[in-house]
Amino acid sequence: MHLNLEPTIGLEVHVQLATRTKLFSPAAYAAGAPPNTRVHAIDLGLPGTLPAMNEKALALAVRAALALDGVVQASSRFARKHYFYPDLPKGYQISQYEEPYCQGGRVPLGDGRFCTLQRIHLEEDAGKLVHTDAGTLVDLDRSGAPLIEIVSLPHLHDPADAHAFLVNLREILRFCGVSDCDMELGTLRCDANVSLAAAGAKLGTKVEIKNLNSFKMVQRSLEYEVRRQTAVLSAGGRVAQETRLWNDEQAETRPMRSKEFAEDYRYFPDPDLPPLRVTPDLLAAQQAQLGELPSARRERYAIQFALPPYDVEVLTQEKSTGDWFELVVAAGAEPKSASNWIMSDVQKHARARGCSLFQLQLTPLALWELLRTIARGTLTATTARQALQHMVDHGTGVETAITALSLSRIVDEATLDPLILAAISALPAAARDVRDGKLKALDAMKGHVMRATKGKADPSRLEELLLARIHKGV
């Protein structure tokens, strides 16, 4: 049986906000701390404790909403979502239900298309269970960590688009400093859902996929589910409404729990927290903090700096790279040569040290000085690389590097003439050819002198002196 089936995909992304303290408690949270060392009485749900909203978390949540073109609500509410589980100290999670702080929004897919969001809401994280030989242990460090949940509308129809959604979402949120969006650290988590139906028909039965630990897994699990559900439907079967877990080694999904009986979370507005207000001042401040988003920056780099698409792509991948580049240009560097040096050498040094450009000992001003020195002819490409290495290693300026490594080009006749004479006597045939007008032979002679000066002889000065000496006669 041939069915013209189209997948419909939705994503739910949890992003941990880059605040110092938790959503409702003054405990400082950092992933990877020893278990139960980042826990306040509030996070434990001790009797008598009350949540108090972290204003910084609200500010970052608002910034995320603005970056994703969502409509920030002037007033929203927290609600309690009830279920019993040992990693949930209060027996309920403080989340937002009927009144999220942000409605709508969109995430670019990178090719001019967008995926519309249903909503973004704020909520606190749960702790986690650690299974050991001694039994199951509870680590409540993460309990109360600030999250936003970004819920897409089921508007994606291709697993590759889901991948693009996540790549662009991460780029934007990192760009505006909302979160580092690191899936390995769990600061970005994604659940996907997919249903199949004939194009234009009513949506099919939705299957949720969990245990997705990378963007690639999201895409592969969706591709798998599309194949699996297509097979089920093509065979005349019915897709069960359920949650499935992705097993990356087997490259397949397996049923986790049936969703036939939806869990009843008994939501109601949290009476411990007043309505969440977003003032026009907060909105304006976050709009100002937002800065330029990646897509706008790409457009600007192409026009303002006349950079080719490849350079634009590389320089806008991380906000810090572009910011660094712009400082070099602002100092006076020619954009394309600044870009060349950043893309090749500077980034290589940063990668080797596992840091961002701003964490290098090299300042943007120092790179501009290096570029200027090259333009003036003091350094060759080879000696400039040596100077850069020294500058990165020791945090010095270009002049210090040149002195330390004795990298100045040799231009004076007194130094070069004996070397030229030595080249002529070493390569008499070449000297003859040059004298006869066969200028191709000049390269061999120049190479001879270059080797003798370790590449420091100024090429045009050398050529000038060589020709003069050969025509003048030894």
Binding site: G48, L50, M53, G91, V138, F268, L273
Partner: protein, 490 residues
């Protein structure tokens, strides 16, 4: 040791500040009195003798150094078993928290200590505040000092019995649906439930968060004014009101008569509770006295007040089912292991909670359940809004609303325990102000047969505590109901 009268906090604080009395003598007297009499009433479930004496010594030392030991210097105060004082058990009258030692101090309790008060112990209560008689406690019932066969009211019955039995002049309780006012009424005390949010709830174990208020019990309005100094905003409770705190004690003197005061008098709708004849008579007389002092009585209607009891019990139970979900035996409190985690939850909660608490958790869970949520919880929320509007409309025509506090005087222990709905109906007079978040005060206004106290309740607009205290103070200048003492104290 000098004879020390434990009835007036203002007198004690004045004497301690002037050096006429030592805080240690006052506290020793209070502890000795508890020792002698508490076994009759079971008002306090634990005395904090060592820490109380240490606090008293610090108060005396401060005074000797020439520092002001604070407006509550040396005043022995009892706190309800649901208020946290670091290092001490706060069990909420429950087996669940019988061993729960507070790792921090409630904001209000800390402010008491900062003002020189001495916390002498914790008082009995209906488990988690759920009850109107202090019979639902893991520590057994508290008895009314006016008649030990009768209840003191509840849920702050232990606090009321402690003050009425003259173990200490002030007790701090909590009032969710009348739990300070009703025991005040039944024990011949003056009790205040402030505006919702006037006092920080941080460190008060939650029963129903949108209704819970810390309240105070004392013999008269003057001592309530003194105690109310601990009110005010708190960064740890974002539902606490960010309003300046008036100088309550100083404000008392600013009214010496009631001329121009309009007191709204509700029609005879008693919410089906069955108003006792003696209560009716005493409160009517009290209104005449207020009128004689210059007040004008005006008729007043709250059209939705007849739904208040069912609205209150739905909302309170719904919130309680959520607030009490944390008692799962995993991190603190009673823990009974089962074969599975679900079984452990069930065992811990079945053993830890008493019958009334379990009843309300079930009721509240049902009210929030899918399919019933809107018709129960949702409907109750809407009625609450209507009731708030009723009060707003009423206060356009009057300054205060008067009613009996409780339809009945103290009833016999065990007489209503098997009929929860009859017990709930007794809260008809107090729950409306709770639902609307308004301040309300109960003051002694007479006695029923058998020397059973009767209270008059005054309800005011939000943040009008000063008016409530002034009116009660004027009334108490001209009457002596509040000076009557149970036989055991004379």
């Amino acid at each position: 040791m000098p004879h020390i009268d434990l009835r007036s906090a203002a007198a004690i604080a004045g004497a301690v500040r002037s050096g006429a009395l030592c805080a240690t003598d006052v506290v020793a007297t209070a502890l000795a009195t508890v020792e002698r009499r508490n076994r009759h009433e079971n008002a306090l479930v634990e005395t904090f003798a060592a820490s109380a004496m240490a606090t008293a010594e610090r108060v005396d030392a401060a005074r000797r150094r020439g520092e002001d030991p604070g407006p509550l210097a040396g005043v022995p105060i009892a706190i309800k078993d649901n208020l946290l004082l670091r290092g001490h058990i706060a069990a909420c009258g429950s087996r669940m928290l019988a061993d729960f030692r507070a790792p921090y101090t409630a904001t209000v309790v800390q402010r008491l200590l900062d003002r020189g008060a001495v916390v002498i112990g914790r008082t009995n209560m209906d488990e988690f505040g759920m009850g109107s008689s202090t019979e639902h406690s893991a520590y057994g019932p508290t008895r009314n000092p006016w008649d030990r066969s009768r209840v003191p009211g509840g849920s702050s019955g232990g606090a009321a019995a402690a003050v009425a039995g003259e173990l200490c002049p002030i007790a701090f309780g909590s009032d969710t649906g009348g739990s300070v006012r009703q025991p005040a009424s039944m024990c011949n005390l003056t009790g205040l439930k402030p505006t919702y949010g006037r006092m920080s709830r941080y460190g008060l174990v939650a029963y129903a968060s949108s209704l819970d208020c810390i309240g105070v019990l004392a013999h008269d309005a003057a001592d309530l004014a003194l105690a109310l100094g601990v009110a005010g905003p708190d960064g740890r409770d974002t539902t606490a009101l960010d309003a300046p705190v008036p100088a309550y004690v100083a404000e008392l003197a600013n009214r010496t008569e009631l001329k121009g005061l309009r007191i709204g008098v509700l029609d005879d709708d008693d919410g089906g509770a069955g108003l006792d004849a003696a209560v009716k008579a005493a409160t009517t007389t009290a209104l005449q006295t207020l009128e004689a002092l210059g007040a004008r009585l005006v008729p007043c209607v709250l059209p939705h007040v007849r739904h208040a009891v069912s609205t209150y019990y739905l909302l309170a139970a719904a919130e309680a089912s959520s607030n009490l979900a944390r008692y799962d035996g995993v991190r603190f409190g009673l823990s009974r292991k089962g074969r599975t985690i679900d079984e452990s939850y069930a065992n811990s909660r079945s053993d830890g909670f008493g019958a009334e608490v379990q009843l309300r958790i079930l009721l509240g869970t049902h009210a929030l359940q899918h399919g019933y949520h809107d018709e129960l919880y949702g409907q109750a929320t809407r009625v609450r809004q209507l009731l708030r509007r009723d009060f707003d409309a009423a206060f356009a025509h009057c300054d205060l609303i008067a009613s009996p506090t409780s339809p009945l005087p103290a009833f016999a222990i065990g007489s209503k325990i098997d009929d929860p709905v009859a017990m709930y109906r007794c809260d008809a007079m107090t729950v409306p102000a709770s639902l609307a978040g308004l301040p309300a005060l109960s003051m002694p206004c007479g006695f029923a047969k058998g020397n059973l106290p009767i209270g008059l309740q005054l309800t005011a607009p939000a943040l009008a505590e000063v008016l409530l205290l002034q009116v009660a103070n004027v009334y108490q200048q001209r009457t002596d109901w509040h000076r009557q003492r149970p036989e055991e104290c004379t």
